[in-house]
Amino acid sequence: MWTNLATLVRYRGLIRSLVARELKARYRGSILGFFWSFINPILLLSIYTFVFTEILENRDPDLQPYSLFMFCGLLPWTWFSSSLNEAAGSLISGSNLIRKVLFPAEVLPIVSVLANMVHFFFGLLILAAFFVGLQYRPDWHDLVWFPLVVLVQLVFTTGLALALAALTVHFRDIRDLLSNLLTFWFFATPIIYAYYMPSVQGYRWLFNVNPFFHLSVSYQEILFFRGSFVHGHLKLLLEFGLVSIGVFIAGYWLFDRLRDSFAEAV
């Protein structure tokens, strides 16, 4: 396992090219091309903003501007969920590579996660534009921790993506199960609502076992709730960082154990 992990470093050039190809190929042939990377999050945000400020009006004064609050949680979630959805099918859709070319299979789910991370970064640019437009200034003391949250999410997502990709080869049901599970997971995580709202206090136990809870709250505290992260969720996030390393190792180990079965089962 450790030697395989080491060879993975050798394949960074391949991973980089495949991520670039993924991004190029996705919008090839569309008129707006790469702008979709910006337009998609804007459209998504507009829909959510309309629903939650016009139809289900949100009056909590702490969550204003609401669209900004929601965007802080929605962007990382989109990265997370699309990564898992794509990674789960990545070995199957890349079957011609696995069966015909000597190819390190773990590259495929990792590319899914990284390509979506690039989209996440584009989304951050939009978010930054919103901050500027609304003249909303996050706290700099919190903001320095932002890369750490991204890193924790990357490690956690990659670990899960590897495990899911490996298992989906043998249990195709996972792909269908996963999309439903992710919908449930989305609503179980404080993204469109805040974790401290009185109405969700009965579900605190659910937050505690929800890994993404720590990420979404960290993002919200760093970007939206000014000056609350360092004395708030930071400690929990660091703990979760250790857990996510464990998740990564477990996911990679599972993937490595099942590696030899891929060429025949995909």
Binding site: L102, L258, R259, D260
Partner: protein
């Protein structure tokens, strides 16, 4: 001879037959590395069993064998794409496998970008590809189209580009699986030149192919696989000879089986009012159109038709120029005084090649009674390689059939010379001293 570049040691590969599967518990699955519990022998298929061979560095090994003999499985094991069920596979040096060309191409992006990504997948660095890019594109003959998306390529262009990238990886061990059929003649020649260059530079090549001529010309050694087992390894000419003999034996078996079926279905007396011709003119017209069958009045019957080769053995496989004996066992229910024996020879496409009968050849019938064996000897079977069909008949001088066997007998002609047409006249070439030929490598 130096240390082996490729070494297989008692390698077996079992595949699971497709079908319902039962899972092991997740725990035991993770411990064994396989999610499916140990399978019973009847649930698996052994693609390779106990195969051991070495290829010395710098040697070229040709792997031959019928479809399903495990050739491609062996290649995938050497490439490391699949792992052996038992045994060990060792390979020294960088491998490039020409198995599925352009397997990693993405249809939406350009040929140029695909060359880079494919090259990186095969183990090159970006800089190495940059240095070889022009060579790759020229080799693939795709300079005009290199910036077009790969989805617009024809399958030939696609394969050529895949081939060009793979061959420029500069491997120590090159694995080739039946990929030479990707281009036109000139492209094939270019590929062969490239292989020859690899050979000169002392690279190891493992070549899986059905083209025996290529193995004979090109390989230092041949390996013959049959139903997953090794039948021989060694000098290409010897191995190919053994393989050809085995193939002929199998074909002979097939033809003999077909013959046995014909005999079983035609063992009844000929159909008295079958589709048979009633006069000679109709017979001639019919000759061109009729399908196989048997008809006639049945007063004289052809009980058995046997072909014998030069050594007197009954067979269905002959070699060009061989002496062939055709034996008809006939029996007349009562004596007849009007009888003609005839044969007709057809190519597999139904072209009437030759026909004759005893009456044409001025044997005037007198009496035929009881059982008789008639032999027709063809001193030299001057036909090119192919499959041929035979009519045999006994009929009256006016053409009315006693027993007509239409295209019921099939035989095959083999030849080491791949000339074309139907008929090979006996021939030889003569040249003046000013015309010289090279000896084919």
């Amino acid at each position: 001879m130096s240390t082996p570049a490729i070494s297989l040691h008692h390698v077996s590969k079992r595949y699971r037959r497709y079908g319902g599967r039962q899972f092991a518990t997740l725990k035991s699955a993770l411990l064994s590395g396989d999610l499916v519990r140990k399978l019973r022998p009847d649930e698996t298929f052994e693609a390779l069993s106990d195969v051991s061979f070495d290829v010395a560095a710098g040697q070229t090994l040709g792997v031959i064998g019928r479809n399903g003999s495990g050739k491609s499985t062996a290649l995938k094991l050497v490439a490391g794409i699949t792992k052996p069920t038992t045994g060990t596979v060792k390979v020294e040096g960088r491998i490039s496998a020409l198995i599925e060309l352009g397997a990693g191409f993405h249809p939406e992006i350009s040929g140029r970008e695909n060359v880079f990504i494919n090259g990186i997948m095969l183990g090159l660095t970006r800089r190495e590809i940059q240095a070889r890019f022009d060579e790759i594109v020229d080799f693939a003959e795709l300079r005009q189209f290199i910036d077009a998306p790969v989805k617009t390529y024809s399958s030939g262009m696609y394969m050529r580009l895949g081939f060009a990238v793979a061959i420029h990886v500069d491997p120590d061990v090159l694995l080739v699986d039946e990929v030479l059929a990707v281009g036109d003649e000139s492209f094939t020649h270019k590929c062969l030149d490239k292989f020859a260059e690899f050979k000169r530079r002392n690279k190891t090549i493992l070549l899986v192919t059905h083209s025996l001529g290529l193995v004979e010309r090109f390989c230092d050694e041949a390996l013959w696989l049959d139903h997953g087992q090794m039948r021989g390894q060694g000098d290409p000419t010897r191995i190919i000879g053994a393989y050809m003999t085995d193939v002929e034996r199998q074909e002979e078996q097939l033809l003999a089986d077909a013959d046995a079926r014909v005999k079983a279905s035609a063992s009844d007396a000929p159909v008295a009012d079958g589709p048979g011709p009633t006069d000679a003119g109709a017979a001639a017209a019919d000759m061109m159109t009729a399908s196989e069958g048997r008809w006639g009045s049945g007063e004289v019957q052809i009980r058995e038709v046997t072909l014998f080769g030069e050594e007197g053995q009954p067979t269905h496989i002959f070699h060009t120029g061989e002496r062939v004996t055709l034996r008809l066992a006939v029996s007349a229910a009562r004596p007849v005084d009007d009888f003609v024996f005839g044969i007709g020879l057809f190519s597999a496409e139904g072209v009437f090649i030759y026909g004759t009968n005893t009456f044409i050849e001025e044997y005037d019938p007198d009496t035929l009674e009881g059982d008789a064996e008639i032999e027709l000897v063809l001193d030299s079977l001057d036909l090119v390689e192919g499959t041929y069909k035979l009519d045999v008949a006994v009929h009256r001088r006016d053409g009315a059939a006693y027993d007509y066997h239409r295209l019921l007998y099939t035989f095959r002609v083999k030849s080491r010379v791949k000339d074309v047409g139907i008929y090979r006249p006996k021939h030889h070439w003569t040249f003046p001293p000013s015309v010289r030929f090279r000896i084919r490598p």
